[in-house]
């Protein structure tokens, strides 16, 4: 199908974009990469009255490391972030997750911040933001505000971005020296949305014991679910059992609830084992 009619502008500054969003509110929508929005428009699942195309705001196409955080601008494409060597060094989880986002051609166009704002419960980058405890910077007509990950996701496809606001950057903490991370997911076909996915983070204390084990889940709840699995004492199998007892996924056309819960357990074990091995490698090196 084709998109419904809408008004359109392509502003050349953030101020112009905010003015356009302000006058279109509450029926305006930001168009960045469009890899989620255009399918919604084509299928007429979304009918915004006005699109503010931010593709001319090239100043937002940045990825940089700043004060212990990887900062990704609103126009940085997945492929660009994935290929950025400084980002891979500073926070390997970002690349691990982005490699699982759709297909290379989609990643050429889709933006990393756009997928976070889209807040799809199956989105890999939403889980990364939730797990790392990052934040999103929102610009509005009355100034900027920084929203923490735990406050950002309100529900499926709903994030805390007001109709007159533009998300300009996402900030993700870099990986600690004695920490490791891993991402595991299962999808029906390569590149499809995950039936279940787990991002894991582990930290070691000076003696090599596990001081923190945490996992974030996609496709098991309406918003990214984060579980603290430190009490499993660094044993991936018992962490998997713990996770299985704590998730309450819903059934849908792709999987039953029981299968999703099973996957949550298995993938927790795999991802946490990967994160622990990664942490030991980094702490040892």
């Amino acid at each position: 199908m084709k998109p419904p009619p809408f008004g359109y502008s392509r502003p050349e500054s953030v101020a112009e974009a905010l003015a356009a969003l302000g006058s279109a509110a509450p029926d305006g929508k930001v168009l960045a990469g469009g890899q989620s929005l255009l399918p919604l428009l084509n299928m007429r699942l979304a009918t915004p009255a006005y699109l503010v195309d931010i593709n001319a705001l090239t100043e937002l196409g940045f990825v940089r490391i700043d004060d212990g955080e990887v900062v990704i601008g609103a126009l940085a494409r997945h492929a660009q972030v994935l290929a950025d060597p400084a980002t891979s060094r500073a926070q390997p989880l970002i690349g691990q997750a982005l490699a699982l986002v759709a297909h290379p051609v989609i990643r050429n166009r889709g933006t990393t911040l756009g997928s976070i704002v889209h807040a799809d419960p199956a989105g890999e980058m939403t889980a990364v933001l939730a797990l790392l405890g990052g934040s999103v910077l929102l610009a509005g007509s009355s100034g900027e505000r920084l929203v923490k990950a735990e406050d950002f996701f309100l529900g499926p496809l709903e994030s805390d971005v007001r109709p007159d606001e533009l998300a300009t950057e996402v900030r993700l903490p870099v990986l600690g020296r004695r920490a490791g991370c891993a991402f595991a997911e299962v999808s029906r076909r390569h590149g499809d949305y995950a039936v279940c996915g787990v991002a894991a983070l582990a930290e070691l204390d000076e003696a090599g014991g596990v001081s923190l084990a945490r996992a974030a889940y996609l496709s098991v709840a309406g918003t990214p679910l984060v579980l603290d699995l430190t009490e499993a004492g660094g044993d991936p199998a018992s962490a998997g059992r713990l996770a299985k007892s704590r998730v309450a996924p819903a059934a849908d056309i792709h999987a039953t609830a029981a299968y999703r819960r099973h996957l949550a357990g298995v993938l927790t074990e795999r991802a946490l084992a990967g994160a622990l091995a990664h942490a030991r490698e980094r702490a040892g090196g």
């Binding site: 419904p4 392509r10 255009l38 989609i106």
Partner: protein, 184 residues
């Protein structure tokens, strides 16, 4: 608005009020500057096919799953059904029509598809050709595993993919040794 008054820049045309709801879009398609008046909701795929009459770009699913509509945007492979023509204003677009050399000789990827029987009905072929062309620019010597990753976002209902994987590897050979291209 580009209504004959002066020479507005590409962005002037887009950000100003459209004329009768239409935007003047200028694209450099396969090296030729083309213009069209389109509504904001016109998909790039439809602009290429309907407004510019370049029907080599095929439209399958219109939600980014099948890959048939893949074109190169400033050299990067993108889904033309997931992009508005107005967003592409000012960009260089390469469609499947632009892969063939000016003298009509097939490109290495096109030749490899012919050599390896990489197509049957041909509906999905334009998307494969463009996606593979861009991927080989980035990675000229893909492994069989990487060849599968390259075509992972394109659907083919005829071939079973085996010959397409072979064609990716063959295209890499032909690019490396261009004198083998004209063997047909």
């Amino acid at each position: 608005m580009a209504s004959g008054d002066g020479n507005p820049t590409i962005n002037d045309r887009v950000i100003n009020q459209p004329q009768d709801g239409l935007f003047d879009v200028s694209l450099i398609v396969n090296g030729v500057t083309r213009t069209a008046w389109v509504p904001a909701r016109r998909l790039l795929s439809d602009c290429l096919r309907h407004d510019l009459r370049l029907t080599g770009t095929h439209v399958g699913c219109e939600h980014g799953v099948c890959g048939a509509c893949t074109v190169l945007l400033d050299g990067v492979a993108v889904r033309s059904c997931l992009m508005l023509a107005v967003t592409a204003d000012g960009a260089r677009i390469t469609t499947v029509e632009g892969l063939t050399r000016p003298d009509g000789t097939l490109s290495p990827v096109q030749q490899a598809f012919a050599d390896c029987h990489g197509l049957q009905c041909g509906f999905c072929t334009p998307g494969f050709l463009t996606a593979i062309t861009a991927a080989l620019e980035e990675n000229p010597e893909p492994s069989p595993e990487e060849a599968r990753e390259i075509i992972g976002g394109n659907l083919c209902r005829c071939t079973g993919y085996q010959n397409i994987v072979k064609a990716v590897l063959r295209a890499a050979e032909l690019r490396a040794a261009p004198d083998q291209v004209d063997t047909s």
